[in-house]
Symmetry: C2
């Protein structure tokens, strides 16, 4: 591993310079000198920052700080004294925003190149200049630290709360971190919501968010929209003069998830945390810190996609032996239920299931239960025949007749299969065929119940050849009143990931909180959903441009298990009453394996549909799920994303392109190929008459010899795209 | 086991008798014919009941029923269809109180004698007449059942919710079960509170509850007083014509704990359930039922204490092999910390502990940490020397420097001892001495954290010779917003008990919900605190009459780990700054082993204090903790409780008496002894000059020969009592 660390510390005690209420400003530059961040205190002692790129303001002067909850003094059963202490009301000095003076400013440089366990690149450079501002609040005799890291691709900052006499335990009422916009940017956003990100993106001016937000709130199994002009991160924006700005967070650990609340007049986005059941927004014990707030900035969309700031602001890998973490391509018993062709439930006879009491031996099978041994074996055969790593099976365990919509506590036990799912036979058959099984744990958001069963469930997986789990959090959270994006749940998700690591299990959580780069620290977090995935193509359809936006938003925090690869776009072909159409051409479905980066990729359609298009399916069989290098050829949210990636384990390259409505012409030189080498290009593109709506299954496959000098010109249809395999010749 | 079951079913379809809004009444008599219960529907179809004893009204006509929460229809991510279902607001027909007609009335008789694993008696008769009223609510097309069981000692009733099309999942807004009083009774009560029962009892007229309640709310580590005139159960009352009435509940499982809200004008007590974080009062899934609401009625206080109704209304034992459940007498490293002489914490150096991060190797021990190996061995020696079964040790595990008052989540891990507590050495030493260890798990009410560690913690106990655990729930509940007496916690406590049973562990939970007879079903629930125990004698003192009230209130639901046996009443002798005095004579401390029934009894004082009074200590050594028979000689709440009990494993009898302020003269014939046999009586009584305040350690011990014809006359001092051992002669 190449590793360079240069650390220069320059201590500037600013308080000596600070007299009365005059400002005390400090500035920091990015390693390449293009970004400048200025820190200042105003006349009330409130900290602020400002960010410029090439001398031009990107983020205007923006306030920082937190507001704490005023608490009653704790009533106390006195153990070391003989008398009770009378309860009294104490103002815990709720203001952590003003009255600060600068105690010290430390600056330094960090430069290191590290190797992720899996990723878009084999090596990632983490290069930034850092400024650590220690602030003192005299009236409460307490300190906080604000740490800024300025990269060549933007700024990250966070609050740190050192252990100290007057600040040990505190409760956050709200974090007031501001991001002042410099214009009425164009933005791609989804509504602020404490429970779901499964929304379509709206493209609008910032000034239009408030008026367009109500219509953007579409129904979900669990949702708590914030309303107003509050949106979620990662928030993608583009200024009129061509600056690309992305606001998100990194390393959201033991802290609630942040939303951004917009005020039109001042053009301020302000942090808006997810509350708990009592409305509180974070229980803190020093020493501790907030997540990083990130501002990724570029002159092109490609700069945003190429940024590794979110990963770099997370801690290095904490799992010592990572040999068991393997990028995985899989098929599964899933899309047939999503489309309505088959069912998760075993019977239609029972409406109210009580596990252990409901007698499944006495019910009549509904005949539509997909997770039966024979059918699962067909999937195992298909996976083995085409070189897939694993087979997911949903609906294998008792309880699916009654799991949804009632905040049910004891909803699943994660170890009791239906009678027609023979765990042992499947384990043996999969082993024989050299295929791993992928477990499904739908928690129904009953997290106490899931935690109660977790050890037993993970052990059951280990015992039966399931090295990875797809977990689900559909419905309202139990404990009731908590939210998917609150501190309680963020703590839970990480608990599952760390416990899974003990069992050498990889986790792919659906409906969990959107990620913030934590997969660097815990690379067994192999995937997440936490956005509107392919399933919605069967629930009415995703917007045509959806996959051109996801890389700029949801994927900034980490990989998504989008489950692409649908070849039959007409859902009624699978289930007559399903009127949905997948809003994509077939060629674009191939492209998504390249454009939507994930170390976990599903071929989501049914084997019977792949058998109809085996020539196109070849790309899904060939495409890797782990990469050496990635190059972002085209990147315009809502319009086009074209990415070239080199296989981690060979010299081969793959190119994918997904485009929005209206189609797109792509022209690019294969300059990323090794000079002087010859490659065989296999090009999967939309047919001339292709169109997501009218003719999605029209595609062509052509092969040709190419070199680093070859220029490709490829047309994508409306809702289309292309995929290219570039295989080096010996 | 003697077992008699006679079941007579008489089906009366009442609806055929019911026309328009006329009443439809049914009545039921107790097996001895003295109680009559009348059931009726009023003109709005609301059910009610009424109870008489010997023709005299005990409970006036009292309404029944529940109010459900109106819920939004669940938003639904549709899986079996292609389109989303629009969210809509549905009134879930929230009224489960009116509009009922009687579908059927079943009557029957039950008579069985069963043997508890441990108890006040070797055999318990469960004899009642039952009436099952099935009610139909036509406007919502749904049924409920109200089941009444009328015993010779009172009435129990509950709601049952059969599985049915129109009633599967529902949320309780409030239960409206009424108990109409027939006079302004005298009552012994503590304030309604969702989090604690650690209050002193107030004796007042019912009409005085409201005005006296504010002063009755004394500080506690976690408390949420309901206010108004809302009190807790078991509520003890006495009418002016000498009727003793006790209101409580039995088998409170997966349901919130009930309080009683009083209205002076109508003299109505109405059920008031404990809410969850959202204010809801019960999540139900049919088939299910409420706990039993119990009305124990007697012509004497002894009738109340002799009642087994609470146990009888619980399910039979569900633990197949109970051979590992053993009544236990123990000493422990505890009172010395309670008084302030020593400490739970190992060091004074740290204020903010983060387990796994705080380095205990770097801190300075405070020199007052009691749970150190050498000191624990002294307790083991003492236990072995005097025949105790077990030694409790508190403060053995890391985290006690910072565990309290902050709703801390990761507060203890239950397996990591302080450096000076050598688990292995203590395990070996205890085994050598033939003494069991008793584990201490202070959860700090962080129940998620406790459940996460539960399996590991129980396994650690099994591995190290701890067959029983004292658990604690000090402080506010985490998940935050939940309450000690809510459904969430009631579910948790039972989860611990059933899981402990898997490990053959006995549970003694402190600060948990007050019991409702569940120990019949799960007899490894060996004890509970859930009331103001002896610890408060070191926190300012318990009322002098406190122990004369507990048998009528807290103990109606099950045994209490009151931790009696304090010989040094002046707490400053243990810790100079502790000004508390134990409000009891020494002789009464002995009596409590008989009067406060528990299969788990602690000798709570320090060995050094027992060594000063070894003659008196002999009674604690001799007294059993499991009984063949119990006879209630005197029973007046606030004044005196005198009980005679026969050892389960011998012919010996023990008598204890605890009295309130002003003292008491007791005179009784030993008619319970076997006629014709001779016994040696050892009488431990207050000295002539004894007084709890001025001379608590004055006692006398006398021996004499007695028979069943002997009459004893014994005087007890103010706050005093006596204890008698009656040993049969060969």
């Amino acid at each position: 591993m190449m590793k360079r660390i240069i650390l220069i510390l320059s201590l500037i005690v600013c308080s000596s310079l600070y007299t009365g209420h005059s400002l005390c400003a400090q500035s920091l530059q990015s390693p390449d000198g293009r970004f400048t961040m200025q820190f200042a205190l105003n006349d009330k002692g409130r900290p602020s920052y400002r960010l410029t790129l090439d001398g031009k303001e990107v983020i205007g002067k923006s306030g920082l700080g937190l507001e704490l909850k005023k608490e009653q003094a704790d009533r106390q059963e006195t153990f070391d004294n003989s008398q009770h202490t009378e309860a009294s009301s104490i103002d815990r000095k709720a203001d952590l925003m003003t009255g600060f003076t600068i105690m010290s400013v430390d600056k330094g440089t960090f430069d290191e190149t590290w190797e992720p366990v899996w990723g878009e690149e084999k090596e990632i450079r983490n290069h930034y200049n850092e400024m650590t501002v220690r602030l003192h609040q005299a009236r409460n005799e307490r300190d906080i630290i604000i740490r800024f890291r300025l990269f060549n691709d933007g700024l990250g900052f966070r609050y740190e709360f050192p252990e100290q006499k007057n600040l040990t335990y505190f409760v956050i009422k709200e974090e007031h971190s501001q991001f002042v916009m410099t214009g009425d940017h164009r933005a791609w956003w989804i509504p602020g919501d404490y429970d779901t990100q499964e929304y379509s993106y709206t493209e609008s001016r910032l000034s239009e968010i408030r008026s367009k937000l109500p219509a953007a709130v579409t129904p979900n199994a669990s949702q708590t929209p914030v309303g107003g002009a509050c949106v979620q991160t990662a928030l993608m924006m583009k200024s009129d003069d061509g600056l690309y700005i992305n606001l998100h967070e990194a390393a959201c650990i033991d802290y609630p998830t942040m939303h951004l609340d917009y005020t039109e007049g001042t053009k301020v986005f302000e942090s808006w945390l997810t509350p708990d059941a009592r409305g509180d927004k974070g229980y803190m014990q020093t020493p501790c810190q907030s997540p990083w707030r990130t501002i990724i900035v570029g002159r092109s969309g490609a700069d945003i996609l190429a940024s590794r700031m979110t990963l770099n602001l997370n801690e290095p890998c904490k799992i010592e032996d990572t040999s068991w973490i393997k990028p995985t391509k899989y098929v599964g018993v899933w899309w047939e239920m999503i489309t309505g062709r088959s069912q998760w439930a075993y019977t239609d006879d029972v409406n109210s299931v009580k596990l252990g009491e409901t007698d499944y031996n006495k019910v009549k099978p509904n005949g539509k239960h997909a997770a039966n041994t024979a059918h699962v074996k067909e999937y195992i055969d298909f996976a083995a025949q085409h070189g897939f790593d694993a087979v997911l099976v949903e609906g294998w365990n008792q309880g699916w007749e009654d799991w949804f919509g009632h905040e049910k506590d004891y909803v699943f036990d994660f170890v009791t299969p239906y009678a027609d799912f023979d765990v042992k036979a499947i384990r043996e058959y999969a082993a024989l065929k050299g295929v791993k099984m992928m477990m499904h744990h739908e928690t129904s958001s009953s997290v106490r119940n899931y935690e109660r069963h977790l050890d037993q469930a993970y052990q059951f997986m280990v015992d039966n050849g399931y090295p990875s789990v797809k977990s689900g959090y559909v419905g309202n959270i139990v404990p009731r009143g908590e939210h998917h994006y609150g501190q309680w749940l963020n703590n839970h998700y990480l608990y599952c990931i760390t416990k899974a690591a003990d069992y050498h299990i990889m986790v792919n959580a659906h409906e969990a909180v959107r990620p913030t780069g934590i997969c660097r620290t815990y690379p067994n977090m192999i995937g997440n959903e936490s956005a509107r995935g392919t399933e919605y193509e069967s629930f009415g359809g995703n917007n045509v441009e959806h996959t051109t936006i996801l890389p700029f938003t949801r994927l900034i925090g980490g990989p998504m298990d989008y489950t692409p690869g649908i070849f039959e776009m007409d859902c009624s072909k699978l289930s007559p009453t399903n009127t949905s159409r997948v809003r994509s051409t077939l060629a674009r479905q191939l492209a998504l394996y390249v454009t939507l980066y994930s170390p976990l990729q599903m071929a989501a359609d049914l084997p019977e549909n792949y058998n109809r298009f085996m020539d196109a399916f070849q790309f899904i069989k060939d495409v890797p799920v782990d990469w050496q290098r990635s190059i972002y050829l085209e990147a315009e949210p809502g319009q086009v994303v074209t990415i070239a990636r080199q296989d981690k384990h060979s010299q081969d390259w793959y190119v994918g392109s997904t485009v929005g409505a209206g189609g797109h012409d792509t022209e690019f030189v294969l300059s990323f190929l090794e000079p002087g080498k010859k490659y065989e290009a296999t090009i999967y593109q939309d047919g001339k008459d292709a169109d997501w709506e009218k003719n999605p299954q029209s595609y062509s496959i052509t092969k040709k010899k190419v070199t680093a000098k070859t220029k490709l010109k490829l047309h994508s249809a409306s809702g289309g795209g292309f995929a290219v395999r570039l295989k080096i010749e010996d």
